[in-house]
């Protein structure tokens, strides 16, 4: 998205939040949007192509599905009478192939909100993401799960 698009989108969000789509209100939203873009111009990065909207949408759908599944799974674990056998907590080091700050942040957030995993820490050299698992199966299975699911999608979005 180029800066002008960002300002337009911000103005529309402003109008939606304040609840009135009058011209003056859109103008005020646009002014605030310009201010925000000016303040953040260094961290916004280079303009992105529009084609990636499809990848973002696909990531969002996957995320919402996994979020629902994870909430149900946590609920089942919490409500089992025999907690000791249902739980196998473990911390696994997940080797990161994505490198930039934004990608790691997005991946860590997604991991936290998906079934049975919670990101705890990133190693100093950004090569490992420490993931806490609620019910630990096998190390390889968990890593393959994340690498094939979210990490691939995140890389697509940022490619």
């Amino acid at each position: 998205m180029n800066p002008a698009m960002t300002v337009v989108v911000l103005a529309l969000i402003w109008a939606a939040i304040t609840g009135t789509f009058s011209g003056l209100n859109l103008l005020l939203g646009g002014a605030i949007g310009i201010l925000a873009v000016l303040l953040l111009r260094r961290s916004l990065g280079p303009p992105r192509r529009f084609r990636q909207l499809r990848n973002i949408a696909s990531l969002t759908v996957l995320f919402l599905y996994e979020l629902g599944a994870s909430a149900v799974r946590v609920a089942i674990v919490v409500l089992t009478p025999d907690l000791k056998s249902a739980l196998q907590p473990a911390i696994i080091a997940f080797p990161l192939t994505v490198k930039s700050d934004a990608e790691i942040t997005l991946l860590a957030n997604l991991i936290t909100l998906t079934p049975g995993t919670l990101s705890v820490d990133v190693s100093e050299d950004r090569s490992l993401l420490y993931v806490h698992a609620l019910a630990f199966g096998t190390r390889e299975g968990l890593i393959a799960d994340i690498a094939g699911g979210f990490e691939a999608k995140v890389r697509e979005v940022y490619s």
Binding site: I13, A16, I17, T18, G19, T20, L67, G68, S70, A71, V74, A75, V77, V78, L79, L83, L87, Q88, P89, A90, I91, I92, A93, A108, N109, L110, T112, L113, G116, L118, S119, V120, D121, S123, L128, Y130, H132, L134, F136, R139
Partner: protein, 117 residues
Amino acid sequence: MIVDIATYAGCLLLLLGALFSLVAAIGVVRLPDLFTRMHAASKAGAVGGGLVLLAVALLCFDVGVAMRAIIGVVFLLLTTPVSAHLLAKASYRTSGQYRVNMVVDELKSKSSQNHRA
């Protein structure tokens, strides 16, 4: 008719959200250590709060208010993992007692070798 359907759906979402919040609270009390509790609070809690806000969006019949509620949901889903992650990182360094519960702990074996639990 469509208003009735929206009302029923909103009520369903509201009750589901309340139940997920209850499950999160039960989980925070029942689960044995801080990290497993964090699973309950971050996932079930975020979904519970988000569902209640979605119910507000469905039941208010006002575009502006609905947009605000949906932006609230997005905000909740963005911030919950961040705070859970920060809290997990902070408490991993301070509370040593919970580490004994874990089957495998690769973060620990990094900092002090040959100490796998």
